[in-house]
Symmetry: D2
Subunit: 349 residues, 4 copies
């Protein structure tokens, strides 16, 4: 019963198989292999973006930090929400990779609004050498609270950015889950909505460790290659990144897993709606649930073997009925039994 | 017939198996899993270093840059040879990770001598605020020309460093091949010889992509953890790094593969000694051969299907008897047939 | 009638004289001259801090960025207010000098409170490798809104920092004005109140361009020297920095000028209290006034030859009675006539 | 008798006067003052470069580091000699400001040759992501050994750089001395000879502390402004930088002082030619002399009150006739008497 994170689950067998299949004989190193060429072609097809530049790395933080540093001068500020992963969970990777850019926090929520974005941009006056200079807008889809921007919301934000001539980056660590939730195409959720660059996640959705950085305008492709090598993120046995991503994309495995994970989270959310004193902090739209439960319920769950993140603590001490917030994440591999058992425990059955 | 690099070959089946075995159910992320604990214990045992801090990353450049940046202040200089991988092949990763440290080139060869090291150190006067400040000594074992420092040579260099109170880092991308060549213990080739930190390579010797950074004095372990996360080199599904390294160390697989690779290179070197106008640039000691062949011989080899690095060029044009330098690398998987075929082609048989 | 900034005014004649006096014959460079030794001794005496390390630079941003970078690791966060000069007016100098540290904004005002500070510190959990690590607390005295922390307020903030083992830096660009306002000793406003390092400003208070960085614990003095040289802020003809600072400190000139500037600002504030629809945004305590006036009054002032900063605009268009915020700064050189003329213009006389 | 450095001497009285004259009333800060506009116009006139962008800073290291960082990507290498000030005397300022660029050392002398430059450039292959990428060529005029590149030498070097599409920077800490030695125009020694950017020194030649960075192509002017502010080198009371530089340029004072300094050095060199066992290490061409004298002669000089740099030591101990290298620098203010006295002491008169 692990709802701790979608990076605690196993890789999908088909991806493991792709990895094993790739392990035959010699292959050119550093991305000159056939599988890498194939995965680049496949991603361009998936995104309907024949010009896009594609670059594989092994971690989501690397994808974000490398993509953003390619779009940001050191004296510019990146606009993101206060809950953005790049702000709260990457130990200054964006600041390190950009050489000292600043993150300006927009609004006070996981979702940015055009008005809040405009206010934040205007907060740094143009042409003033003393200030942060305006830089890219960084969005997360699925957001850090499990919500999903609609295509209209994405477009409104990117139009605001475009009015100030600022590029837009999308942290898609859970890109597939968002796509499954919206039921649209990858192109619609990215370049057709004004997104310039994407961190296209594989790790959380059934891979071992692979992410693709995609720039729809490839003019900085060589700079990105240099940044990746300089940051030590260019794999010598690159075929093992490519194989994972290729397995991920083959036969829409990535979408199947994302739909499964979302469906599991929906089943879990449905169950929780019947649990006494369970309150959702955000309406679940993809594969994450943020909700509160009374301390006593948490104690019963944890004693019963459930694993998940408790955002407020401590578990021990305090009133039995004090509401404590939790995060529950479903990956492709979680079973219906585990979900039902969790709900039953929460119900006190 | 690929002698291009030991990062072009496949992973060893036992390591693939270890990876497959690790892919069961849920496991804590970011290194809190059981396999990571096991691999750390195993490496401490292998190195007879119960206090050592152990950190896994996926690339050799990451291992080097993170290890060196932990030992180097931005205003210090790292002492290395002009052929050092950190100088010639890492696209400024050391400079980036250290925040602007300088590499001072010692001697003009792949192997450093104590005298050359001392001269380089004294080249930067002590206590002068205008100069580079003296920092760590960085050695590579196996060297970039395929040679191996003897234990006495390592000790003499580390004693020179110690006289100036400077730490010593060992780039062990081919650590196992050097160890197999020397027939000593890991402890003897590292901390007993005065080495403070090691990049312990797995990738080139049969893994998919894993290296261990080892500090024999663990006082900077937490700083290293922060540096690794900040550089985006902390894997979420960390068990997949640990599994590779554990498979690598189990039943001395790492040493078996290294001995095999060295033996293959010896077989190849023996064959080349009979090839007309073949001249070794360095006496082969591990799994790499640097030698010259006439242009016409290279043309025959390449036409015949051989893959390897030509350090001087171009292959086309120029005199048929002009000597051109090549690098030949053997990994665990190369076959005797491939070697014999290569030699036969070179002989013109 | 310039109330634009205290960096628009002239240097005091006595400081100019000190500069001229220093321009005799040869003197050792890079701070090895006699004047530098004298000014260091003098500052140690002024601060009753015989162990302090003292370092001169030419700009306030250099003083802040160098001092903070000496106290901050790249993965740490600096706690400051959203109005802090280091956040709003230094074009990422702190981020650049620290190698990518983050500024965490405390509260929503120019003055930090212990509660807001504690909440911000606790916002970054201890021992989590993914997060910003807790770093120094950065205060500004006089604040960016012209207010002055009392000694009790400073102590309460530094005690909060001390509970988390965090150092405290004081941006004293207007140190003298604050000291004059409080009527205490330099020691009381710094180390006796728990301050670890100070940017002691001279430029805004009658010098040409000189600031002293003071560390009460000198253990990082050599690191600071290296940081200063590396950042190109070590002057070769260092006597010209020292001479200014020595002239500044001689016969309490610095305090005399600060008291004069504060008195001028008080006279101006008194006058403004009679001006219709003038509202103070913060109670003036030193030499800066933040207030609103109707647009029409601003138009009359500017037409009449007044120079000052209008924080909201534009001046043209909009309703005549719309309140617009302004900043008025007095330096030692402003005349009573200028002040009275300004007030008369504002009154519409 | 100080021949230690041209940064030990006093500022010229006319420059002091200009500084005093500038200290009248209020002036806009941060370079918006009239004097700054005047000095920019004057420098454009002096360099016959009406489009050039001009930026003042206070130290030579700041001029070099800011200029070079504007021309260099972090993954590029700067080509300079092993004696270059930017390599030996700036405590990694170039590495810091560029965010980790590397300095590739060309030749083994103070003067670069086109052949050595070409070899160094070709040492880093084009289009290889693992290597340093080729960046700007950095020359010093007067060189660090007191020699002067002829116009033909400069052009040959810049033509080599241009063949690889690399920009050229000139460290002109002693620009005026070189110009006086060559008897050419500033334009001839810079843009007409293919130089793209100059650090135009004032400090060593009679100013207190001011240098101008000049870009003949102004397309990166705004980036430079941001870099300067971010590095804390933008002066608030900017008129005091401008006043120095304006005084320096008025009535050709800069050239007069440089010619005087060169003439003094020539007088000193002439005297030294008669001193027993004095050997020049480089033929003096401007205001610096590098030569050896026997230890006993040095002892006599120092005992007699001479101040100068001894590049090898120690002075005490060792054979009386052992040759030790010295550096002698003349500035505008050194007297003929001091020179003659020095020579007489060296002669043992």
């Amino acid at each position: 019963m692990s709802f701790k994170s979608d990076n605690c689950g196993p890789a999908h067998p088909a991806i493991m198989q792709a990895l094993n299949d790739a392990n035959q004989g010699f292959a050119p190193s550093y991305g000159a292999d056939d599988l890498t060429a194939k995965v680049e072609a496949k991603l361009r097809e998936v995104f309907e973006a024949p010009e896009a530049s594609i670059h594989l790395v092994a971690t989501g933080t690397a994808a974000n930090a490398l993509a953003l540093s390619t779009l940001t001068q050191p004296w510019q500020t990146i606009f993101c929400t206060p809950l953005a992963h790049i702000h709260t969970d990457e130990c200054h990777a964006p600041e390190f990779y950009t050489g000292g850019a600043k993150l300006s926090l927009v609004g006070d929520d996981d979702k940015m609004t055009p008005d809040a974005l405009q206010a934040a941009i205007e907060g740094w006056p143009l042409g003033d050498v003393h200030c942060s200079q305006r830089g890219p807008v960084a969005l997360t889809q699925v957001t850090e609270m499990g919500r999903v921007y609609s295509l209209d919301e994405l477009s409104a934000l990117s139009q605001t950015a475009a009015r100030y001539d600022l590029p837009v980056h999308l942290d898609g660590a859970r890109f597939a889950n968002a796509l499954a939730a919206l039921g649209c195409t990858p192109a619609e959720m990215t370049w057709k909505a004004g997104i310039d660059a994407v961190s296209f996640g594989g790790t959380k959705n059934g891979c071992l460790g692979v992410e693709a950085v995609i720039f729809f305008n490839p003019e900085k492709a060589w700079e990105f290659e240099l940044r990746r090598k300089r940051a030590a993120h260019l794999f010598s046995k690159h075929r093992f990144l490519a194989a994972q991503m290729l397995g991920y994309l083959t036969d829409d495995l990535w979408l199947t897993m994302a739909r499964d994970a979302n469906a599991k989270a929906a089943r879990l959310a449905d169950g929780l709606r019947s649990v006494p004193d369970c309150h959702f902090l955000a309406e679940p739209q993809a594969n994450m649930i943020f909700a509160t439960l009374p301390r006593a319920t948490h104690q019963r769950l944890m004693t019963g073997g459930a694993h998940y993140g408790l955002n407020q603590g401590p578990l021990e001490g305090g009133a039995a009925d004090e509401p404590l917030a939790m995060r529950l994440v479903c990956d492709w591999s979680i079973s219906d039994d585990a979900i039902d058992h969790f709900v039953a425990l929460a119900m006190g059955d």
